[in-house]
Symmetry: C2
Subunit: 301 residues, 2 copies
Amino acid sequence: MTDTNPPAVGFIGLGVMGRPMAANLLRAGFPLVVHSRSPGPVEQLVALGAQAAASPAEVAARTEIVLTALPASADVELVVAGPQGVLDGLQPGAVVVDTSTILPATARDLAGRAAAKGGAFLDAPVSGGEMGAAEGTLSIMVGGQAAALERARPALAALGSRIVHVGDSGAGQLCKACNQLVIGGTMAALGEAFALARKAGVDPARVREALLGGFAASRVLELHAERVIESNYSASAPLRLYQKDMQIIMDTAREHAVPALVAAWVQQLVGLAVADRGSDFDYAGVITAVLRLAGVDGQAA
Amino acid sequence: MTDTNPPAVGFIGLGVMGRPMAANLLRAGFPLVVHSRSPGPVEQLVALGAQAAASPAEVAARTEIVLTALPASADVELVVAGPQGVLDGLQPGAVVVDTSTILPATARDLAGRAAAKGGAFLDAPVSGGEMGAAEGTLSIMVGGQAAALERARPALAALGSRIVHVGDSGAGQLCKACNQLVIGGTMAALGEAFALARKAGVDPARVREALLGGFAASRVLELHAERVIESNYSASAPLRLYQKDMQIIMDTAREHAVPALVAAWVQQLVGLAVADRGSDFDYAGVITAVLRLAGVDGQAA
């Protein structure tokens, strides 16, 4: 942040991710204008010092940086480019930063429309989950113009500990697709490993402990595998969002003619997990789906 | 280690892994007796203070703890139970610690035969590669009797920073199979991610950098993916050994009736990589095999 007053920042979408991110912006000293479909989270942020706006357009009219954190492509299109949307109120030189996980093609389209209004649009999906959002330690994968990123960087620095300019518009979303694919492939392999352990009479918790010290170590093994071993899904991210991510991955793989057998299998495991546990279950259900296929009870321990 | 003099330790198999492990035992103050088929590494260890023995039986006759680090199941069977093998010279109460990656069933068999001679056999495969062996930071996955592990623990502590007693005989090897499976699944998913990045015009090095900050972070992403991005395979572990590991995984999965689609696919990618680059190529060839399938040139960058 510079010596001058921090720019006014807008935040639209105060869900599981958006709420703690918005709170971190307030904590970092940014004047914050918020909007969300649900009144509860708006009231919470107002109690912390934010101002409420009646529409995305009003948020944009009152701020220089507008962040969005929404479930899917259609939501972002509506909030940014729909009636009373962000583009309707966009100030010249303002930057829209979409932290949602959406199709790279949608991000490119919205970037073009923001540029036509004299502003900029960055795709800036994040990894690190609710925990990373709360702690301000997200990894932020940015696609779009470098100059726009520099304008938004002080605000993003309040949200994440790693900000990577991946490339042009859409590159951030492409990177997030890669991120979700790698998480899924790791979970699918872990499911097979835990199934092998269970059926051979070996404790998966000991396997996890041993693997954490070698080349198989990963954040997925630390966090997602622990949730499965302890059957404790309180830090859950829902399968319904991950199912959307897998569709983005498969659509993008097809678009670029990339054979993606692991991704395709992860997508099927997500389907199995949703059928078995419902779409609100934790996306570590990819691991338990493999256990179920192996004929163990879907519990690692 | 206790206040008393450290026990004499034997080391058989002075290859890429065994050589630095044996050197670490000398450094930690253990009297060391070594044997290897190649004279060069024996001379190196003797120069560092080890004594040479003419056969595995002679190593066993002169030591209380006998470590082996060999390529495959057949080598371990020959060295431990073959003519002039470890069991021929095994002292009462001595512990054989096999750090090789072999079939769990072979480990269980040798444990029975060592017990019949009044000694013990631990399966204790490692993860962390040549680097972990050199730095003494291996993860050691132990199967067998707890009492035998306690006798061997001071020596193992010179080799690894994490020693996990996974379970009974064979459990260490089962755990190592899980380890190699998870590494392979992560590499296969990373190959798809890098192929997607390459074909979408996004720099895989930036993708790697962004992913390292979030839930997709892993040792494989740090180390193996870096080798692929930089086309620098100097820290290589050869496909020929990983191919053997994948066969152990598939044999064990079949034995326990575990569906292992990711493992099966990794095995095919290993075959592709061997066909393309030869069996001495780095096992990160699993990643480049996917790039090749996607029609990019097998280089990530």
